[in-house]
């Protein structure tokens, strides 16, 4: 059915929830009836933990189904397996592959050789994106839980990584094909951030870097956004101190609560307003970043499968998929 395979690359500073967003995005696509591959490349097994399934092997496994025949498959890509698979697939190196391993070359290539590791990781995504079953592509979409914003441009820009190493030859050709996919109209790099100073600054820097390398940017996803809990009246009253501790205490007492809590509740309220204002100022910075913004709420109960469906809905309604 798939006429092409979309690629959604999800990046974000550590701690901003990019794995959660990547999973929600995959669920949203599956909800549209699509066959989706959700993959991770950093060996953290974040997807398995999120979906509460055993650690993922180097093998595509169905982990969730969507409405209308859609499904999410998951894959943890590790460079060693990717290299052996690559050698077997393109060079038919059955015996030689083992010999390479014995000489410590697989280890060398995946840990020491500059840039090779990233080419292998993105190369596997490339292989999955170009794979066909009969005349159609195997997957409608691939969602990649990618390295953090600080490293994403270098990670995707495999050409530059191997440029110093290989100017011609098979590695270079492989890197060129991957690069073509990364810059194709089917690819989007989404940046996940929270509304705090450092992650927002990194997002702005990330957008500039990706743009300079002509890598296509999709949405900026504001994650863990805290909803305002106070009305405009409450805000004014607290900040202008027109309400007294005694009045709040009396109000608490009328509802059967301890009036002594009034002071702490009011400081909690002022602190919350300050955080809201900070969040707002960071949002304003991002409004000018030139990319569409999508907000996902902070879910106080934490993330489970139900929460993923909720976030997936929000992503769908806001047009990310």
């Amino acid at each position: 059915m798939a006429l092409s395979t979309q690629l959604h690359v999800v990046t974000g500073k550590g701690g901003t929830g990019k794995t959660t967003v990547a999973a929600a995005l995959a669920m949203a696509l599956a909800g549209e009836g699509k066959k989706v591959l959700l993959c991770e490349v950093e060996g953290r097994q974040g997807i398995a933990q999120l979906f509460d399934v055993p650690p993922l092997p180097y093998e595509e496994r169905k982990i969730a189904v969507g409405l209308g025949g859609g499904a999410v498959y998951a894959l943890a890509i590790d460079p060693e397996s990717a290299l052996l698979e690559y050698l077997a697939m393109y060079y038919r190196l059955g015996r030689a592959g083992k010999a390479l391993d014995r000489f410590g070359i697989i280890d060398f290539a995946t840990t020491i050789a500059p840039g090779v590791r990233d080419v292998l990781l993105t190369g596997k995504v490339y292989e999955a994106a170009r794979r066909r079953e009969g005349r159609d592509f195997t997957y409608d979409a691939i969602v990649m839980d990618a390295p953090p914003t600080g490293r994403i441009t270098r990670f995707l820009n495999v050409n530059t990584e191997v440029a110093g190493l290989a100017k011609v030859g098979p590695i270079r050709r492989q890197a060129d094909s991957i690069m073509e996919m990364m810059r194709s109209p089917d690819t989007r790099v989404h940046l996940v951030t929270v509304l705090e100073e450092m992650p927002v600054q990194e997002t702005i820097d990330g957008i500039a870097e990706l743009t300079s390398q002509k890598l296509p940017i999709g949405h900026v996803i504001l994650n863990l956004v805290r909803p305002p809990l106070v009305s405009a009246d409450t805000r004014t009253a607290l900040l202008s101190r027109t309400v007294t501790v005694e009045a709040v205490g009396a109000s608490l007492e009328s509802a059967g609560l301890d009036p002594k809590a009034a002071y702490d509740l009011m400081s909690g309220g002022v602190a919350d307003i300050k955080r809201q204002d900070l969040q707002e100022s960071q949002r304003e910075i991002l409004v000018d970043c030139g990319r569409p913004l999508v907000e996902l709420p902070a879910l106080t109960e934490g993330i489970d499968l139900g929460a993923l469906f909720e976030l997936a809905d929000k992503l769908k309604n806001d047009g990310v998929v």
Binding site: F103, F108, T111, G164, G169, L229, V248, T300
Partner: protein, 399 residues
């Protein structure tokens, strides 16, 4: 079959550093910093948990308590770097201005991995050989983009700084290092081991073969391997690698020796590891992994810092009370409505705090005896030394 002999006993500290007798279970940061036998503090943890901020705050606090401190940061956020007066990545420790009067001092530096690598090559090799290595395409790629270089060079720099501090001019008596944001948490611990196994590996010998004569290496598989490498890498890459390895050959021993020296230093009594986390499932999982890894490697753990923790706020009102009273007050006077809003904030905060407490107690149950300190969430980021001082107070629980 005879059983394997037991490994020799390693020295293990009687009590973890930073654990005070009275309040076992709480990380006593001031005791850790005041202990003159603490010469190195390594802050490790997953990305985005405030590792660098914690390292900087510990450094400032130690300096203002009289220690001569050098903070080595790997990849600080711009503002944090500015808060310590670091404007450029020049690989040299610079004094931080504005540190309180007293015998202590604070220097800070950002690691430039390529420069560190280049300097090692220049120091170790003859000028001609160094020039040959520095211009080799494989070296250029290796020193600037290889995913593990940062870890190796952080280790190298730590060894250098400690050497200067202890053996040479006693410029510092405490080095605080913030670890690289590695994809796998303790990559830097693996660096010496990886380097050694790579250097001893048959692959390096294989690459050296043309220079040294292949006779010894003509074993089964040799032919297959070279032809496979040629096919996959292309002849040019292979030649570059061979030239590099041949030129680098004499330096390998020194590299390995120093990496092993730093590894031993990390296991020594003068080192203290501080694992940093935030109260989120992923970060706490990483923290568990760190704690287990450190124990497995006989690395001295001081304790766990949990950043950005939310406390319960107003006492005596449960989440259920807050929610039910809130509903009643919503329809009352203007003050009642305000109180209802405040109760809603309180209820949300209790939810978060309860979730965080569950994570913390789960960690404590799995890792008994790891001294821990929670640092309250601040409204904004750290921009200056005062911000770092505030974090320092929170770390030491002095408000």
């Amino acid at each position: 079959m005879t059983p394997k002999p037991a490994p020799p006993p390693r020295k293990v500290k009687a009590t973890p550093r930073g654990m005070s007798g009275a309040a076992a279970g709480t990380l006593d940061v001031d005791a850790l910093l005041a202990d003159r036998t603490t010469e190195i503090i390594v802050c490790c943890g997953s990305g985005g948990v405030g590792k660098t901020t914690t390292a900087a705050a510990l450094g400032l606090r130690a300096a203002e308590q009289g220690r001569k401190v050098c903070v080595l940061t790997i990849d600080p956020a711009r503002r944090l770097a500015q808060s310590m007066g670091l404007t450029e990545l020049d690989n040299t420790p610079r004094p931080v201005a504005g540190v309180g009067a007293g015998p202590g001092s604070l220097d800070a530096m950002m690691l430039d991995m390529k420069r560190t690598f280049d300097e090692v090559v220049e120091q170790q090799a003859s000028p001609e050989k160094a020039a040959q290595i520095l211009s080799n395409p494989f070296y250029v790629a290796l020193s600037s983009s290889f995913a593990g270089t940062q870890e190796y060079m952080a280790m190298e720099k730590l060894g250098q700084l400690h050497g200067q501090a202890v053996d040479q001019d006693r410029r510092w008596d405490l080095i605080i290092v913030d670890t690289p944001p590695s994809r796998s948490a303790l990559d830097f611990l693996d660096a010496p081991e990886r380097l050694s196994s790579m250097l001893d590996g048959r692959f390096i010998k294989l690459l050296l073969a043309p220079a040294k004569g292949p006779a010894k290496l003509l074993t089964a598989g040799f032919g297959i391997v070279t032809s496979a490498l040629n096919k996959v890498l292309g002849a040019q890459v292979l030649t570059d690698m061979q030239t590099f390895v041949a030129a680098f050959d004499t330096l390998f021993g020194g590299f390995r020796q120093r990496a092993e020296g730093t590894y031993a230093l990390l296991q020594a009594e003068e080192t203290a590891f501080v694992v940093v986390a935030s109260p989120e499932p992923a970060a706490m999982r990483e923290a568990s992994y760190f704690v287990e890894r450190l124990a497995g490697e006989n690395m001295p753990l001081a304790g766990l810092v949990i950043n950005r923790v939310h406390d319960e706020g107003a006492e005596g009102i449960t989440e259920a009370d807050a929610e039910s009273a809130g509903k009643r007050l919503e329809v009352g006077s203007a003050t009642d409505k305000l109180t209802a809003d405040l109760l809603a904030i309180h209820a949300a905060r209790l939810k978060v705090s309860a979730r965080e407490s569950r994570l913390k107690s789960r960690f404590a149950a799995a890792h008994t005896g790891v001294p821990t300190v929670s640092v309250a969430a601040l409204a904004g980021d750290v921009h200056d030394l005062d911000g770092l001082r505030e974090i320092g107070d929170l770390l030491a629980k002095k408000d």
